[in-house]
């Protein structure tokens, strides 16, 4: 149980750090900023989806479907920036 808490704690810490990094970078100037903030959001999504939701153990069809859906979603949003 202890190793489980530490392993999942590392994922939680990564989510917190990414959240704070995304937040502070959003105030910076530069055309890359919006893409960086979006990319950080995508990484956080996958961390929660695969680790917290345990989708890494799900059928590969679900994993592929969700990954493709998110890439299309973020790709479309990126194009509109």
């Amino acid at each position: 149980m202890k190793s489980f808490i530490i392993k999942e704690g590392a994922v939680w810490l990564a989510l917190v750090v990414l959240t704070v990094v995304g937040f502070y970078n959003s105030g910076a100037s530069g055309s890359y900023v919006a893409y960086l903030v979006l990319a950080i959001g995508l990484v956080k999504f996958f961390l929660i989806f695969f680790d917290f939701m345990e989708m890494k153990h799900a059928h590969w069809v679900w994993q592929i479907a969700m990954t493709l859906f998110m890439l299309v979603l973020f790709g479309t949003i990126s194009l509109s920036l």
Binding site: V16, T19, S26, I48, F52
Partner: protein, 175 residues
């Protein structure tokens, strides 16, 4: 069954985010000035609150799987408390927006702001009820009756609230 439900929910929010982004590109000045009216600090706080509550739900599952039901109920209680914090922070944010007349009908940005955040808040409130039910069952030592409605599916619903928020936060508040 829960995965189909989650996929459909994410699809609905995803489509709304795409429409929001297209409208933003068309009226960039309005959207940027409206976004400046939002409280990014409160949204950051709520993101950290929700992510941490998700972690507590993961720990509740780990405890439950290893037979430590009392700890599982406690972790769920902590997650529910953070869900309550999220609701309170959101209420403070809403009160501020209403006080400044930033409600629906002001412009397209605020139409989407209210639609997306209120719909998400509804899911969080529902999630709190689901987690409360799960915690109560575990505390009483009762088994989950249906295979489709147990701690895993209840947790998946809570994580879905988390997933939607980590998309909503950058799209609505940051970019």
């Amino acid at each position: 069954m829960i995965w189909i439900f989650i996929f459909m929910e994410l699809l609905a929010f995803g489509l709304a985010f795409i429409v929001f982004s297209v409208l933003r590109a068309k009226s960039l000045a309005v959207f940027e000035s409206s976004q400046a009216e939002l409280n990014q600090g409160l949204a950051l706080l709520n993101t950290l609150v929700l992510v941490t509550s998700g972690y507590f739900v993961v720990l509740a599952n780990g405890s439950y799987d290893s037979g430590r039901n009392r700890y599982a109920a406690r972790w769920l209680g902590a997650a529910i408390a953070l869900g309550g914090v999220f609701v309170i922070v959101k209420a403070v944010e809403y009160r501020d927006k209403i006080a400044h007349g930033l409600t629906t009908g002001v412009n397209q940005f605020f139409d989407f702001y209210w639609l997306l955040t209120a719909f998400h808040l509804f899911h969080v409130l529902l999630g709190i009820l689901v987690l409360t039910y799960m915690a109560r069952k575990i505390r009483k030592g009762e088994a989950f009756a249906a295979e489709d409605f147990n701690l895993k599916t209840g947790s998946a619903f809570w994580h879905m609230c988390d997933l939607i928020w980590v998309l909503l936060f950058p799209i609505l508040y940051l970019i």
